[in-house]
């Protein structure tokens, strides 16, 4: 039986939206931790840390997100570990976000003027203290626009989770379309929900970028 798109469907979409936000949030938080580690490895004076981080980033940047999702999703299954799809997807997106944030933050760490580390070194601050108190706080500021920009990409990228069968916003839309045969309405609402999530972030990021450009003039 074909039904008309109604309040119940809207609520179903909201539930899907909730999962979308949750995946993005977990991936972003996990990616922040992993990304920081990768960025620190990338700028490390030790080659043994620098190189693996470099290759890791290259692999993740050089392959489609969907392929990464498949690999982790089915890879975990092949390893014989029986995990629920939610965990598998979180792991996959976290790896993806770690690699990308790692690369963004590497650039930002290196954008902090060398005079800053030199001054800190001249004050005898240890490598850890130089990073923690001098370089990273300044790099964080520089990185905010690009970091938020990546978060927007990440939110939109969660729609790929629908392909491995995870019911987030996009997948919910598919279900409801199948039941209502009203793809324009359903995907219209789905699109508006993504937009409502992403646009304020994009706006914030652009404004911050302009403010920083103005401040550095």
């Amino acid at each position: 039986m074909v039904r008309i798109f109604g309040l119940d469907d809207f609520i179903l979409l909201l539930v899907g939206l909730q999962w979308t936000v949750l995946i993005a949030a977990v991936a972003f938080v996990g990616g922040a931790v992993g990304g920081l580690a990768i960025a620190l490895c990338r700028v490390s004076p030790k080659r043994l840390l620098r190189l693996p981080a470099k290759y890791l980033i290259e692999i993740f940047q050089g392959t489609p997100l969907l392929m990464q999702l498949f690999l982790v999703y089915f890879g975990i299954g092949i390893l014989g570990i029986n995990v629920n799809p939610w965990v598998a997807i979180s792991v996959a997106y976290t790896c993806h976000a770690s690699a990308f944030l790692g690369e963004i933050w590497r650039g930002c760490i290196q954008a902090v003027p060398t005079g800053q580390s030199e001054a800190a070194f001249a004050l005898s601050l240890s490598y850890r203290h130089r990073m923690r108190y001098i370089v990273l706080p300044q790099a964080l500021r520089i990185s905010l626009p690009a970091t938020i920009g990546f978060l927007v990409q990440l939110i939109k990228g969660t729609s790929l989770a629908s392909i491995v069968g995870f019911t987030e916003l996009m997948r919910s839309g598919q279900y409801i379309t199948n039941a209502t045969y009203q793809p324009m309405i359903v995907y219209g609402v789905v699109g508006l929900m993504y937009f409502a999530l992403c646009w304020p972030l994009s706006f914030w990021s652009t404004r911050m970028e302009h403010r920083m450009a103005a401040a550095s003039r």
Partner: protein, 256 residues
């Protein structure tokens, strides 16, 4: 702040505080320093000058290990720098440095700039670090700006904060790399006055500067560098009155 008192400040005659022995430094295949020999005793004030690219910055940056050296050795307080990591780290705490571009930490207040290293490196308690910082900020006459951020200060004020920040670590040696070169002319004097005050306190100083008035008033010895070598090395009267080398004469003719 009169400079007459400077003549009375003592130079320690014993072991040199800094001893550079046949120091060479390469950037790739380019030789920035070539066989530098230099002894600096406690209480001594050295001015280093020379044309751009002659290796002045590299020379002082080798002393506190910002630049690792390729040949020879740098001995500070009897410790060969770089030979034993922890020993050289401890000696490095006694070496303060002031940069041409100030290099204050822009995300911290003036006061926080001055408190960070004493707390993290020397393990000084917060209250004590703050008291010390305020003392030195008063000495460089900028205590009223303690809670501002560096960007809110003029260049001259920033450089005086940078001097105070270095002094908060109670250094035995201060390195200056063209501290007034990035300043507007009207701010040069306030920074030079601060350095003259520091000299009158008996601080050991190695200053890369082209402020020849400062050199005459304050330096025990003036060093002229060219192509990574020390070409001329003399007390200021001799250096300015009777320079020996053609290159020194040409340089002085250009700059005075």
């Amino acid at each position: 702040m009169s400079t007459t008192s400077l003549a009375q400040t003592e130079v320690d005659a014993g072991e040199p505080l800094v001893s550079m022995r046949r120091v060479s430094k390469y950037f790739g295949s380019f030789r920035a320093l070539h066989g530098i020999d230099l002894d600096v005793h406690a209480g001594e004030r050295i001015v280093v000058c020379g044309p751009s690219g002659s290796g002045k910055s590299t020379l002082i940056r080798c002393i506190n290990m910002i630049e690792p050296i390729n040949e020879g050795e740098v001995v500070v307080e009897g410790v060969t720098m770089g030979a034993n990591k922890s020993a050289s780290e401890i000696v490095r705490r006694d070496i303060g440095m002031v940069f041409q571009q100030f290099n204050l930490f822009p995300h911290m207040t003036v006061l926080a700039n001055c408190m960070l290293a004493p707390m993290k490196v020397r393990g000084v308690a917060r209250a004590e670090a703050e008291a010390t910082a305020m003392t030195y900020l008063e000495r460089v006459r900028i205590a009223d700006q303690a809670n501002k951020f560096p960007a809110q200060l003029s260049g001259g004020q920033q450089q005086r904060v940078a001097i105070a920040r270095a002094l908060c670590m109670s250094p035995k040696l201060m390195l200056f790399d063209e501290p007034t070169s990035a300043l507007d002319p009207e701010m040069v004097k306030e920074v030079l006055d601060t350095m003259i005050w520091l000299a009158s306190e008996g601080m050991t100083m190695i200053c890369v500067t082209h402020e020849m008035g400062f050199a005459e008033a304050v330096a025990h010895r003036v060093i002229f560098m060219a192509d990574g070598e020390i070409v001329e090395h003399a007390p200021p009267q001799e250096f300015f009155g009777n320079p020996q080398h053609a290159r020194t004469k040409a340089f002085l003719a250009q700059i005075l």
